[in-house]
């Protein structure tokens, strides 16, 4: 009984720490994005609030918290209220499964990858429902686009992760990291470069980021599914998107880049390599946002069904074949 209580307290504390750290990360990810994109476009970016604009995310948060929550007249109220939460919760829960360190993983379950995939597809419900319940034509189109997009990219992503599972022989994320450490190349990126490519592209599509940001394409659908949201509920969607980015890059790091393992151990800073890798991937997300134009809805589907899925299937087949021979 003592032991169980202690376990629960430990879990809650660890969860809290993880939550605070990840929320801070999300906050400063928005800052980093604005700053980096600004520099790439020869602008300055936020520089008014605090030194070099470092307090900008906090100011934004305060502003969004204090803003009026506008509920349009004809919306489907329960669903309208619920949708941002679905989006955020499903986006953020996956973090609990990511092994940040040898000993630090909130819930080390054996179906880790499946669970992460399930949650990330569930978070599309938030978008679809918000699009539907807003009772706005633009939001509706955004919701439909999102549904189609998530469905088609989920498959490619799942298949590319399947190759990793095949190589590691486990669905437990911790085990996958260990298997990578013991493998020949130390990371799965080198043998599974195609799977990594497919995974990254579909991860960008999953997070609705440029060049696949069709559901919220601001130049066509104004803001897509969250066009009717304001204040904190809008902020929740925003948070969900950035949580999604973090989760997807964490998953990529765990499955392809060797997780927390690095060439040497850095003393006093646990999960140093994990963070470095995750930052690099997040930078990549921001980088392509600053560079690429946006796909069209049907071209996006083409890319998903005609290129990524066959590519990942072929990759899976070859991997399985090699695995069989060796």
């Amino acid at each position: 009984m003592e032991g169980l209580l202690w376990e629960i307290i430990k879990l809650v504390i660890a969860g809290l720490i993880l939550m605070i750290i990840s929320v801070l990360h999300v906050a400063y990810l928005t800052y980093a994005e604005r700053k980096i994109v600004a520099r790439m476009q020869q602008r300055l970016g936020p520089n008014r609030v605090g030194p070099r604009g470092l307090l900008q995310p906090i100011a934004d948060m305060l502003k969004l918290l204090t803003k009026e929550l506008i509920v349009p007249y004809n919306v489907d109220k329960p669903i309208f209220y619920l949708a941002p939460f679905i989006s955020l919760v499903c986006g953020a829960t996956s973090l609990a499964l990511i092994p940040l360190w040898k000993t630090f993983v909130l819930s080390n379950i054996n179906v880790g990858i499946l669970f992460v995939l399930a949650l990330s597809s569930l978070s599309a419900y938030g978008i679809v429902l918000s699009g539907w319940s807003s009772n706005s034509r633009y939001a509706f189109l955004g919701g439909i686009r999102s549904g189609a997009q998530v469905i088609s990219y989920e498959i490619a992503m799942g298949i590319s992760l399947l190759t990793v599972v095949l190589m590691a022989g486990s669905m437990n994320l911790q085990d996958i990291v260990m298997a990578q450490v013991h493998s020949v190349f130390k990371i799965y990126l080198i043998p599974q470069i195609i799977a990594f490519f497919v995974f990254m592209v579909s991860a960008v599509a999953e997070c609705n980021r440029t060049p696949f940001d069709l559901p919220e394409a601001e130049n066509e659908l104004v803001a897509g599914y969250f066009v009717e949201y304001s204040g904190m509920r809008f902020a929740l969607f925003y948070l969900a998107e950035y949580f999604g980015m973090i989760v997807m890059s964490a998953l990529a790091v765990t499955c392809f880049l060797g997780g927390w393992a690095g060439p040497f151990e850095v003393p006093f800073i646990p999960c140093f390599w994990f963070l470095i890798k995750i930052y690099a991937l997040l930078f990549f997300y921001i980088w392509i946002r600053a560079t690429l134009p946006r796909y069209r809805y049907d071209q996006l589907m083409d890319l998903g069904w005609k290129i990524l899925i066959p590519l990942s299937l072929a990759n899976l087949f070859v991997t399985a074949l090699i695995k069989l021979i060796i």
Binding site: Q41, Q42, R137, N219, P293, R294, Y297, D298
Partner: protein, 409 residues
Amino acid sequence: MGLAIEINKKQIDEDSWSEHFFINMGPQHPSTHGVLRIFLELDGETIINCDPIIGYLHRGVEKLAENLNYNQGIVLSDRLDYISSAANNVAFALAVERLMGLKVPRRARLLRTIVSEMARICNHLLWLATHALDIGAMTVFLYCFRDREWLLNIFERICGARLTHSYVRVGGVRLDFTSEIVDELYKFTEEFPSRILDYETLIDVNRIWLKRTKGIAVVPLEEAINLGLTGPCLRGSGIAYDVRKYRPYDAYDEVEFVVPTGKTGDTYDRYRVRMEELRQSNSIIRQCLDKLPETEGEPVIAEGAPELCMPEKMKEPVPKPHPKLGAIFKGEPKKWVPVGESFASIESPKGELSVYLVSDGSSKPWRWRIRTPSFVHVSAIPHMSKGHMIADLVAIIGTLDIVLGDSDR
């Protein structure tokens, strides 16, 4: 509110709730480039029908111009296509000059050419910026604005305003250039071609850009002529019709330049035509600058050009035969311009901008008709967008390069 009722009524009337989807794009929408409203009938995301509705920016310029005199009219022409107001000024001034038979000094003609080409670069940069942003390339937008800012600064030096220049006046221009402006322009023309490369690296061969622009809104040549498309939109379909070559005005007969054309008439071709025009404009400015020293010291306004102040009731003494005194001088209303009509068109950055003037001899035009390229281009949207998707509609609006101030007048 009225609109929602309209839409709902249409749906109820047709009794086809499951069939088509009606959406109202604009008048407030990020990528309709102003207050254009497009009423769309969609099947999924495919456009079945579309009806552009304009008039939200109608200011009655033609009516106003009938109540202002010729020099004041130039100020109105600034506000038509506010992206390239220098070109509009030229069109209006040309029409009045042709009516009056003024001979504009060579220096003024060179200056006008420089200014209208600068306006063309400004306009194409803004077009590229917004077109790229509509398709999602955010960085090109800011690079274009960076360079446009430089040109606007030069404009500020030339005439003291950045957007509504009113630099041209009937019979010439208002101010001469200074040597600093010429130096700055030289610097710009040297630097600018390398800036174009920046934009082209980002989008020119990018596969997403190609997918979004190739084969979108294809207008065959015959149809383009029938639709009345002008400027780069017409040249993208494969005809080298350019007013600067076909009916030269100002100093365009002195400079050498190529009129770029496309082949298929899709969005990508129009994009290429405009990018090429940026380079050509750059070289035209360069050539004109080289010619400027030859005309050093010439006046910039024609002899006999009307004063800025054209009072309506001014009377001129006219000799009248008198039985006893031989002749007496009687005040007659002054004839500011000859009675008649004139037509002048220029190649404005967006297309052919033509002005049709009817005068009754007073200081005010009897009728000032402006045929603006944007107006014609907006009318072409329904023909070009049928069967495409919403995302393409945004690209089509971008590629037509419309400004609603220009089309609504």
